[in-house]
Subunit: 251 residues, 2 copies
Amino acid sequence: MKQAGSRRLRLDPEARREAILDAAQALFRTHGWDNVSVADILDAAGLSKGGFYHHFSAREDLLSALAQRVAERALAAGDEARRNAEGGAVARLNAFLAGSMRWQAENAGEIRVLIDILAHPGNDLLVQRLAQATRGVVIPELLAIIGDGLADGAFDVVDANVTAEIIFNMTQDRSPVLADAVARASGGHFEVAVERLGARLRVEGAACDRLLGLSPGSVVLSHPDNIRRLLTGLINVKSDLSTRKNTSVED
Amino acid sequence: MKQAGSRRLRLDPEARREAILDAAQALFRTHGWDNVSVADILDAAGLSKGGFYHHFSAREDLLSALAQRVAERALAAGDEARRNAEGGAVARLNAFLAGSMRWQAENAGEIRVLIDILAHPGNDLLVQRLAQATRGVVIPELLAIIGDGLADGAFDVVDANVTAEIIFNMTQDRSPVLADAVARASGGHFEVAVERLGARLRVEGAACDRLLGLSPGSVVLSHPDNIRRLLTGLINVKSDLSTRKNTSVED
DNA sequence: ATACTTACAGACCAATAGTCTGTAAATCAA
DNA sequence: TTGATTTACAGACTATTGGTCTGTAAGTAT
């Protein structure tokens, strides 16, 4: 019985959705997740409740939507870099990862929002949902490329090392948003890469033991996690050095 | 003009506060931070709003209160271990840290709540407040002990190594609750310990460079963070091995 | 015994997430 | 062109919940 207004202009739904996400992202970034009400977002986006809940089923939906959007963009950046790369599988993989990492570095602010939100309290629920959202986009693409190369033996140990370095670097430092998703979703392939690194470590184990002042074999044998832990340190150092030199890997 | 009831019994204020915190902690643990309302807590604690807001000024206050309580208990556990320890400064320090770590391991569930809450979204505010709450209890005590030893040269390089190992181990893996607070609040003393480790690393730098397949000096000189990163791996491995052997350090 | 403080009870208020009803514009059907 | 249906909203309404305010009984000091 009441007059329903429509003073505000009607947009292309896709554009409206983007506008809402943009507004939400900006507000979350400056004020934090739980200091921003839907009304605030609506206000910034020039929209009413009805409109919002037409596009999103709940406030929390903004989380996965935002995450997915960032994931898609990071993926697209990597894809573009890969298309422009020449060389074999490893070179193109590196291009993909480097391109994606560069985008993520350049858009750290945008990603920062998601880090904050990702760390939402107690909600394993939220983290899972977010991991799902990103997993659906980035991880399969990523692991398909890497997994192919590893599975059919196209990469030798050195290549696997490099691959592992880049993944690890990406997941540890440069791309914390994806770290969780990778850790949860990577499954076998990532382990394979780490195992390759472990093999190399075993070869150099004696030197390592000496460096640590331990009896021979201690590092490798004492505890399974030790391999990974040590690798964390080694990989970060080496990949940092190699990206610094802008090393490109042949395949 | 309305009759004010007092059917519920009146408790010792300290006990009431503890009861509220216990109830809150249990609920947060099972349902997560933002699925628990103050009414739920009140219900579980057998209290009314007025009572709650007499003891706590806001819902968020539960965070720092809970954090502080855990910090105090972790500190108390360490203190008791230290009192029962014989030996010099380093031995007592190790006893303190080991005792605290053991308590934290045994009460991982209790701490888990705080990890969840600590990661509250966007709120650097909350994190800061939490860091302050823990800083006020644990850090000064901790750093006073370590700092004294370091400042007056009572520890030689090896002792500083061990100290740094334990701190690092404690903050990285075993005690994530305190990690942030330590990182933010430790300031100079922690850096001193790390610097000592860096000194040792420099001595063994050649071996390290060789292990990494880099030109001499690369690891130490290339990037300041590299030292710390590498140490993360080394320290974790070595301290894991030494605690496994239940090594005790003389002073 | 009287004043004062402490530890609560419970009504009340304001903000806010989500629902529901209604409507104008766009799209499709004839 | 016109009528029917769907889409994209507007805005009133509801329910929950964090926090305030007023009041009072129990304890404490004088």
